[in-house]
């Protein structure tokens, strides 16, 4: 069974984000980039399914040359292949554009993939768009925000998180599944894996090769500005006897903030 894992390079979650107001974009200088945390769960799940059922795991990203690093990480974790789809544009925040590229790639290069694994959200863009859009463009089923996945022959059962409950989703393959924290505990790369990953060749596919005409991929999003949110101000702090501080707190909530 062939499994594609769609991965993205994103700034470390610890990062302080600085904005270039001229270009309305994030200053990349000084940022540490990682494989998006949810994509790591997707990657781990693919490796576990492969371990149990056999097949091939392919890590795929749409991005610039910088993204080769996260593909190497996927190879080091145990992916059999990795592909970079080279996108000339920096972050567009446009999920449909990315989804169109991925869907076309899957049709052209991996039409027999049975499972497409994603993160539930790319850390940074925080869109939660691409997995569902790819599923729609390919006309296949989807289960998003998944915390448990069982593959059985040509079907799969996924548990997905909704408010205060879980939905059990029955899928026929091929299907799109996006990973939530809780799905598994990602493995660390082994030294051997890292060495092997260094030697593997990573094919690069261009947008033109996928047959896109230039205007077909115009972003659907026109950015007006990027801002820092207003910083929260530190308020009052009380110390002292617990009974007294508790009373002050409730008084604040009741009479001043009028919440309780």
């Amino acid at each position: 069974m062939d499994i594609l894992v769609l991965v993205k390079r994103v700034p470390d979650t610890e990062s302080k984000i600085r904005i270039n107001r001229e270009t309305n974009s994030v200053v990349e200088e000084g940022l540490n980039f990682i494989l998006s945390p949810y994509d790591e769960y997707a990657m781990e799940e693919a490796l576990r399914i492969k371990g149990a059922k056999g097949g091939k795991v392919v890590a795929v990203t749409v991005g610039r040359d910088e993204s080769l690093v996260i593909l190497r990480k996927c190879l080091a974790m145990g992916a059999d292949e990795a592909v970079l789809i080279k996108d000339p544009l920096p972050e567009t925040y446009d999920g449909l554009r990315t989804a169109r590229i991925i869907a076309r790639f899957v049709q052209a290069k991996y039409p027999d993939a049975r499972l497409l694994l994603f993160g539930k959200q790319s850390v940074g863009a925080d869109n939660s768009q691409v997995p569902a859009m790819v599923a729609e463009l390919l006309g296949i089923g989807q289960a998003n925000v998944v915390v448990k996945l069982e593959v059985e022959g040509e079907t799969a059962t996924a548990l997905r998180e909704i408010e205060g409950a879980q939905e059990k989703v029955f899928l026929t393959l091929p299907a799109v599944v996006s990973a939530q924290k809780g799905l598994n505990e990602p493995r660390y790369e082994t030294l051997k894996g890292i060495m092997m990953a260094k030697k593997k060749e990573i094919p690069i596919v261009s947008i033109e090769e996928l047959g896109f005409k230039p205007d077909e991929l115009a972003p659907q999003l026109a950015i007006i500005k990027m801002d820092q949110p207003p910083a929260r101000q530190a308020g009052r702090v009380v110390t002292g006897v617990a009974e007294e501080t508790a009373r002050q707190l409730v008084e604040y909530l009741h009479t001043e903030a009028k919440i309780i």
Binding site: T13, P37, T157, K181, R232, G235, V250, I260
Partner: protein, 323 residues
């Protein structure tokens, strides 16, 4: 027209859908157009009256046996059919679990962009402008969508409810749902114990971190929650990873983003990834024994003290208030 998708669970309308409808009506008024709503499912026509009391001038009801249970594919197909017929300027969703599942599927089906999880919508000269947090709230992105209709999802608990009477004509629509071979079907819904409300939907979130010391002490937070209507218990990742509480309670960058009226943090240091999930709360209160804990930098009210000593009198004070 701005069309708002109304989510129902167990034949009840979600509050966050009413928030989306309220915002749709405000923007429709600014743009000089009308706000309409759409219900999808079975046995839901009776809910239309509630929608007119939130300003929906028309309520479309897409009823069909095959829409009884939520299915992304069928719901997206049904909605796409209606959208093609009505040609609304925008379609609003609430960015709930269902909204995040359905809105991108509809947008892709229509071949248009999606503004997801927006916290602000403004009507400018060139149409609607959207603002949404990116990098877990460390930055805000403001943009327009260049395609039409504009598909939009709104973060729950951000947009105020605005009841307003409207004519509320109910229009039943028949829908064609194409048969598909590749399927995804919800076969079961497993309720969390006790049917507690989710942290993303609660008006007040009471969270505990590593300072709670163990799973049994989360009972203290549940006791506080029992004294406050529409509240839910949240947690830091440390508490979740220690196995003290389920990860559906986790607030933060790899957990849930919450925007309650009040966020109470007990024994949480305030790591950047935690702040990412709760900084859009209206009021933040922290109880921590370390006066230098970063959480105090974002707290409107801070109590420096041992949470195990503060919680018992806090419960007494809350009980007094309730009379």
């Amino acid at each position: 027209m701005i069309l708002t998708y109304i989510e129902t669970r167990e034949k009840k309308i979600k509050k966050s859908s009413l928030e989306a409808l309220s915002e749709a009506r405000r923007k429709a008024a600014e743009l000089g157009t009308e706000a309409a709503a759409v219900l999808v499912g079975t046995g839901i026509e009776g809910l239309a009256a509630e929608l007119s009391s939130y300003g929906a001038s028309k309520v479309y009801v897409l009823e069909s046996g095959s829409l009884d249970r939520y299915s992304t594919q069928d719901y997206a197909a049904a909605l796409a059919g209606l959208v093609k017929k009505l040609c609304p300027a925008a379609v609003f969703f609430s960015a709930t679990a269902m909204g995040k599942d359905l809105a991108p599927r509809l947008a892709a089906r229509l071949g248009v962009g999606l503004a997801s999880d927006c916290t602000q919508v403004s009507a400018g000269d060139g149409g609607l402008e959207f603002t949404r947090p990116i990098f877990a709230g460390k930055a805000l992105l403001t943009f327009r969508l260049t395609s039409s209709p504009q598909v939009v999802s709104l973060r729950p608990n951000v947009f105020p409810l605005a009841p307003a009477a409207a004519a509320g004509e109910v229009i039943r629509e028949t829908v064609e749902i194409p048969a598909t071979t590749a399927r995804a079907e919800v076969t079961e819904i497993l309720q969390e114990s006790g049917g507690e409300i989710d942290v993303t939907e609660a008006d007040i979130v009471i969270s505990g971190g590593r300072g709670m010391k163990g799973p049994e002490n989360f009972e203290l937070l549940r006791e506080i929650s029992a004294l406050i209507p529409r509240s839910a218990v949240g947690a830091s990742r440390s508490a979740v990873d220690s196995g003290w509480i389920g990860h559906q309670h986790q607030v933060g960058q790899t957990g849930k983003t919450v925007s309650p009226n009040l966020y109470l943090a007990f024994g949480i240091s305030g790591a950047i990834q935690h702040l990412a999930g709760m900084s859009s709360s209206k009021v933040v209160v922290a109880v921590n024994k370390d006066p230098d804990a970063p959480i105090f930098k974002v707290a409107d009210f801070g109590v420096v003290g041992d949470l195990f000593q503060v919680i018992p009198p806090l419960k007494e004070e809350l009980k007094k208030l309730r009379g």
